[in-house]
Symmetry: C2
Subunit: 296 residues, 2 copies
């Protein structure tokens, strides 16, 4: 029996971010060294965890690509580095509307601040292009083994920040943005190898990342008009990696992270962020896929 | 550089539950129809979600296998069916210590009740065999799509019950039981195909199950002396399946579950629970593995 009245709604294939690009403000030749990047046209972009590390590198790469009429909404817990980034981006991309919200996405108040900003900003941007990037995340207390995780508040808080917040922000952002004809709505989850593979001392991080990957696979299945990407950025040279090689309880794991650094295998955030930008411009990934830095 | 002072502790290979079995109280021939099952010797067994469905079927299969000196600690939210099961098991297995705790594992109070019971019961059982089975779980509101999941409390409560509680119970149970010479400590996570594969309308369930599987893979890696199994019991003929075929928001998914029932493909809980019991008796699964009903 077919479900009478059930119609699969499929909008016309939306254009990728790289399609119909405006000429860049500089040479216009695109990706040559020293040249300005091509612009994508107007995009409504939301980025969490923007104040440092991978998020900040990504914000710096995205800003010059966002064409006139774009808005870049940056979220992070720390107000001062977020304000510094905002000032920097306003200086380097004077035509871009940059809006910052300092909010702790691990608590209800922070989620409501983010929701209010999205409800104010997203409907006001006259573009079909929405780019939502969930970069915020935490390691949890990696000095502890699984058997040390005995405090329910600690575990609940971990999942509130790392799993509930990206789900909440996605549903609210997509509702605030609405459906627009010929739109390209893209949701990026900053994932990890830990979503696929267990690591000692990292029970919270691994299970949180596995949960996020799966959640966004469900979104991809439910919403064929939304492009969904789980991007694992590789072992980045960030404060989080510093924690990994100094705080990880398991000595073998700690040694592994130390040797990654000593042998120069850590990846510069800008290099990995550039790969993500290229993935978004090419827009050929299967929606819901887990794509690793080393795969491409 | 080797971590000085780091010694890998590996106890002697622990015996499986089926090893050194006592003769059953009946024919003693084991698995023939109508015969009593062989007994495993003394086991300290903790089972959540015990009052109905798969958990109840499993409790009924386990009780006659637990040898003298065993304790069966049953947890569930609903007091009345739990008390009825306790009475039934005491009648059919008169030598067995059955202890019931009616507690909502989705809230701190319920977790503390469970913790208190485990701290009282587990150290008092003079056996090296611990069997901890995480069967409790919920579907979440499957009438909603991903984009309808806008309430952070609803999402947090889902993960508190389905992810935090098995992690909390595992760490507390293993701490309360302690390390004992030649022990066999086994932790079973009742998993699902949804841990591996996304399904429409089931964002919470899929991401919760993916999270649990990964969490227990980390446990298996950290604790080579503990046996860890993620068992997916197949599509069971339970109240949860009734919800699946009547409440699932996505019409294709609902239809899928209806057809599973109409074509007689739902699995009797006892049949699937028996497969799990056999897996535990054989004890040959790789620790941390995801084993599906249909794989064996």
């Amino acid at each position: 029996m077919n479900g009478a009245g059930h119609v699969v709604r499929r909008l016309a294939t939306p254009p990728p971010f790289g399609a119909g690009m405006e000429p860049g403000p500089g040479s216009g030749s695109g990706s040559g060294p020293g040249s300005d990047p091509r612009r994508w046209g107007p995009v409504c972009c939301v980025l969490t965890g923007a104040s440092r590390g991978f998020g900040r590198s990504l914000a710096r790469l995205l800003a010059p690509r966002l064409g006139s009429g774009s808005v870049l909404l940056l979220l992070a817990r720390s107000a001062a580095p977020l304000a510094a980034l905002e000032a920097e981006l306003r200086g380097s991309s004077p035509g871009l509307r940059v809006r910052c919200v300092a909010a702790d996405l691990g608590c209800e108040q922070g989620l409501r601040q983010a929701e209010a900003a999205m409800r104010e900003v997203l409907p006001s941007v006259p573009t079909g292009r929405l780019l939502l990037i969930h970069n915020a995340g935490s390691l949890g207390d990696i000095s502890k083994s699984f058997l040390d995780l005995t405090d329910p508040d600690e575990i609940n808080n971990y999942f509130a920040f790392n799993v509930t917040s990206p789900l909440f922000l996605t549903s609210h952002a997509l509702q605030a943005f609405g459906k627009r004809p010929g739109s390209n709505r893209t949701v990026v989850n900053i994932s990890s190898l830990c979503a696929l593979k267990p690591f000692k001392s990292w029970a919270l991080y691994c299970s949180g990342k596995a949960s996020r990957d799966m959640m966004f696979q469900v979104l991809a299945l439910e919403e064929p008009d939304i492009r969904v990407l789980n991007y694992a950025p590789g072992p980045l040279d960030t404060d989080m990696q510093l924690l990994a090689r100094t705080e990880t309880g398991d000595p073998e794991m700690r040694q592994h992270f130390q040797s990654l650094q000593e042998s120069g295998q850590l990846i510069d955030c800008t290099v990995s962020a550039q790969k993500l930008v290229t993935l978004l411009e090419e827009d050929t990934f299967p929606s819901g896929a887990h794509v690793d830095f080393y795969d491409i």
